[in-house]
Subunit: 340 residues, 2 copies
Amino acid sequence: MAKRLGKYTIMLDKKVYIHSYGAVVGKMEGQGPLGRQFDLIFDDTSMGEKSWEKAESALQKEALDTALKKGNLAPSDVDIVFSGDLLNQCIGSTFGMRNRDIPFLGLFGACSTMAQTLAAASVFIDGGGAQKCAAMTSSHFCSAERQFRYPLEYGGQRPPSAQWTVTGSGAVILSDVKPEASAATCIKSAVFGRISDLGIKDANNMGAAMAPAAAQTIIDYLSDTQTGQSCYDMIVTGDLGHVGSELMIDLLNREGVDLGAKYADCGLLIFDRNEQDVHSGGSGCGCSAAVVCSYILNALKGGQLNNVLFIGTGALMSPTSVQQGESIPAIAHLVHFSNE
Amino acid sequence: MAKRLGKYTIMLDKKVYIHSYGAVVGKMEGQGPLGRQFDLIFDDTSMGEKSWEKAESALQKEALDTALKKGNLAPSDVDIVFSGDLLNQCIGSTFGMRNRDIPFLGLFGACSTMAQTLAAASVFIDGGGAQKCAAMTSSHFCSAERQFRYPLEYGGQRPPSAQWTVTGSGAVILSDVKPEASAATCIKSAVFGRISDLGIKDANNMGAAMAPAAAQTIIDYLSDTQTGQSCYDMIVTGDLGHVGSELMIDLLNREGVDLGAKYADCGLLIFDRNEQDVHSGGSGCGCSAAVVCSYILNALKGGQLNNVLFIGTGALMSPTSVQQGESIPAIAHLVHFSNE
């Protein structure tokens, strides 16, 4: 039985283990600083499919297949897949999983989806609702651009605050049984965030819209658990980018919270902003998914990291809400990874 | 701790009680056979808002407020809201809940959302991840038509197999504490469905696309639990409509399963097809939400029903996938309501 700690934190009781994981990305992500950490890099980001949406579904299939293979599992070993994405009606996920014959629980949390699926699947396993779950998500630069911004052919100018949607997918298999690896990484606790909306209306500045949500969830968790940054090896948001990260640090400082050198952001880790033309950094569900399912879980597995807070951030607007003059609500969900 | 029974069924261990619920609908739903069962009927389905999308968000707010009021609760008493809807990026839910300051877990399951949110929230409560949750969803005829089909002004012709999207919302407050009412309704078990796609491509025939998913989930549950229709007072799908219901009955018969007179469909309950011009019946997330949160939970509370299987069905396509010539994947999630 999980227990609630403070107002917002869910402390898991059983150990929910990271059984295996996989990250697959496109060419540009493969050329970035984390290139060697990914399982598969596709030079042809069409994935041989006839549309970008089908390509995104193919990425999810590849990510799940990779995680299953690395974990020596068959699809039928998975009780429930938790998945979602940015596309209208989450077709990246539903079409990706439609032939898998695995129970499917669709989630929507925009770019917070990786944290959200990990957190929800963990609560299910802890409570006995499942023994093995897949938590996954994806994004694709080309499907996101044409849905949320302009057709690629239009060649629209991007402001410096804009982030670059990652082409990639990450999948984690969570299990109630300890895997055979020497060190075992668990999910210990989670927070589902509250929606925050401070009135940002610029759809080219998602970082600013999401920063208050990230700050709120981090403060909620540190307050509920009576811990500080010294208790963790890394506190990583996904994906505020350069602009949003600076704003979040400022918001936390005003509340007396200093994350210091422990702080990192998936949107800043995945690309080299000096060498790659990504403006404020990476974004999209696939950004934190690919970073968590490679660099971060690799470092936990290798013992370079032992305690990590991962805060997935999502901007919950749609093109329709932006056209109707609405501001951008945002959310941030947190999971705590810890080695046994 | 929940237990898995057979391959697909989650048997809850603790009692997860229906604390309270509310259903709000538009004028046409109010004029239907269940009109007297709804908490609120809005003659002006714009809800005084400037767009249909904002009106749909207002419906969710009203449904939650009604459920909270009937349950004598404040928003801060709710640990997590589970919600989703049909609109791109689920803005009916996110904008509806953005000022509530309640942790938010967004789900996407198209018209299966009411069953999906109930099932997921129940597993959370059973496992100790939350004490009180709201499970809710909405749809609006006007926001759905212009997003999925044509602008209303175009006056497109509807084929007989088409269903009519319900304008409405339903919210259930689930709790680990027994409410004060004499009879107490619980959720006892749940199944998260597998995605099924038999190749239907007609977006005006959702019932046919969803029927195989509904049949599959019902067979999975009856097989896992070794029960038959005689064990239940009602087995209700939401929302196959006339065409889909006939197909599902046929599919079940071929597998030797006969639901007999126990079978009902929310899409056929909410409208009078002889008097109201709704073709194959009602649909949309708000259809089963409004029917479950009025007629069905009222009958359970009053003891006219004691054991009900509710199977929410969803068609997981998007306008983009339809334009790309894809078939329509579908899913069905099940919850078992039972009086103590």
